[in-house]
């Protein structure tokens, strides 16, 4: 089999071909720079932004927003799910409110959050927190409710106290659901970050994109899009790493 044939069957082939066509199109003037910068120009810009420190510093700002928002949202989601999942009273108090909240698209709250919190960091973090709370809540809550009752009964027959049942049976049993929720929360937080950063930001990836739009710097816009994609991948990788460590007992992950 020739090298070309091998290449044609590889999964890298079509993306590389697309890049080549894109580059050629730009070089031949078929794709004007103000529509879309050439891949080589994008790479050059990326390098320049990295060495000048422009990209790392703005990325750090965006990262900080996601982390603060997630920390608040995920914590709240976990606490509310525990209260609703572990007690009937808690369920009656919390679950209806969470279901009402679910029907409101978080991004539609942006104007209200700006009125409440101004245009600084607070509304951005609040939006991310608000959006990332629900997936964690919903999955953990249903995970707690879905814990195998037979296991719980077994634990009860050995005289475990209620607290021990929660610690040894309910929490580990609902951990897989929590991690699914966490994965959703991470991707939603990045989605909301994109929108939140359009609110009069003076730093961050959204600020870079807004600026670049004003100057029609499509190369910078593409660089920022790439960074968003990398953020998404990294978030997924983090959760998968946690899963591999926390769920080693699962048959698919157990090495016999």
């Amino acid at each position: 089999m020739s090298v070309l044939q091998k290449l044609a069957q590889s999964r890298w082939f079509s993306p590389l071909a697309l890049l080549a066509v894109w580059e050629a199109g730009s070089r031949l003037g078929l794709i004007p720079e103000r529509t879309l910068a050439a891949p080589s120009a994008v790479a050059e810009t990326l390098l320049g932004m990295l060495t000048s420190g422009e990209l790392p510093s703005n990325l750090a700002v965006s990262f900080g927003r996601v982390l603060s928002g997630l920390a608040i949202g995920v914590t709240l989601g976990i606490v509310l799910a525990l209260v609703a999942g572990l007690s009937r009273k808690g369920e009656a108090a919390i679950d209806p409110l969470m279901q009402i909240k679910r029907t409101i698209p978080t991004l539609a709250l942006t104007p209200l959050f700006i009125v409440w919190f101004g245009i600084g960091e607070t509304p951005k973090i609040a939006l991310i927190a608000f959006a990332s709370m629900f997936p964690v809540y919903l999955n953990l809550y249903s995970g707690i409710r879905g814990v195998d009752l037979r296991l719980l009964e077994g634990a009860r027959s050995f005289g475990l106290t209620r607290a021990e049942q929660v610690w040894h049976v309910i929490l580990p049993g609902s951990l897989p659901s929590l991690l699914v929720g966490l994965r959703y929360s991470l991707s939603i937080s990045i989605l909301v970050l994109v929108v939140a950063e359009q609110i009069n930001a003076s730093a961050g990836l959204g600020y870079l994109i807004n600026n670049a739009r004003d100057f029609m710097r499509t190369d910078i816009i593409v660089v920022c899009l790439m960074v968003y994609a990398v953020l998404g991948l990294a978030a997924d990788w983090i959760v998968r790493t946690i899963e591999n460590r926390a769920l080693v007992w699962r048959p698919s992950l157990v090495k016999a």
């Binding site: 634990a155 475990l160 021990e164 040894h168 049976v169």
Partner: protein, 261 residues
């Protein structure tokens, strides 16, 4: 009034017991709504006695076991069960996220928990699997872990809820031997729920038959274990007939006609 009815009215007291029974039920009744599962049940189990409870599906076997296990509350009823009791369920009910020895150690109080768990696992022949994840165990291994988990508590009452029903025939026979060895070593009173007459005849001192929420027959098996092969056949056939509901009342040998070994 025939012998069987006489027997039903009398409280059931094992003859060998100088010691007070570990389990004592008097006129025990259990209803779910209009559905009476157990009615007016009397039962004594002596310390160290191995009792098998036979019955068809829906006869109330599991309800009785759950009551003795403390899983269903028995408020306002005359029920005595020891505080130290342990259950082995049909499905081993091991926590999949805890390694085998941690499952055995679950809920143990006091010191050297790990040593106790390890020696219990050694006793059931699983010393080599202490660090395994439960989902990698075979059915027989899982059930042995469940036995170790029950026995590590040194229970006065061991409750077995069809523990071998899901195992293949060969594994089941090995498990029977293991259960008898463990029972001889630790001497808990055992109540084993089963629908397998052969199993009951092979293992138990005394066999109870539960039907429609009442103990409709019982007998002691006087033949020593190990010599029960052919000699136990009359018991086997008798209990099969009782379960089928075709036994004439005089065919039921009322307790305490059988001797006690």
């Amino acid at each position: 009034m025939d012998a069987r009815l006489n027997f039903l009215e009398a409280p059931i007291v094992p003859p060998a017991g100088d010691e007070p029974p570990v389990v004592r039920l008097r006129h025990f009744t259990r209803r779910f709504g209009d559905n009476t599962i157990l009615s007016d049940l009397n039962l004594d189990i002596a310390p160290g006695e191995f009792v098998a409870l036979l019955g068809r599906s829906g006869s109330g076997k599991t309800t009785l076991l759950r009551t003795l296990a403390g899983l269903d509350s028995a408020e306002d009823q005359d029920v005595t069960v020891p505080n130290s009791r342990a259950v082995v369920f049909q499905d081993a009910r091991l926590l999949p996220w805890k390694k085998v020895w941690r499952n055995v150690a679950l809920g143990l109080r006091g010191g050297d928990i790990k040593d106790r768990a390890l020696s219990a696992l050694d006793e059931v022949g699983l010393a080599h699997r202490v660090d395994a994840w439960p989902l990698t165990l075979s059915g027989g291994e899982a059930q042995r872990v469940a036995l170790a988990r029950a026995l590590v508590r040194e229970p006065k009452l061991l409750l077995l809820d069809e523990p071998f029903a899901a195992l293949d025939a060969l594994t089941r026979i090995k498990m029977h031997r293991l259960v008898l060895d463990l029972w001889r070593a630790h001497r808990p009173a055992v109540l084993m729920v089963t629908h397998d007459v052969d199993e009951a005849v092979a293992l138990a001192d005394r066999i109870l038959v539960l039907d429609a929420g009442r103990i409709c027959a019982q007998d002691r098996i006087a033949i020593p274990r190990g010599e029960r092969g052919e000699l136990a056949r009359p018991y086997r056939e008798k209990f099969l007939r009782i379960l089928e509901g075709s036994a004439p009342s005089d065919a039921v040998i009322p307790f305490p006609a059988g001797g006690h070994q």
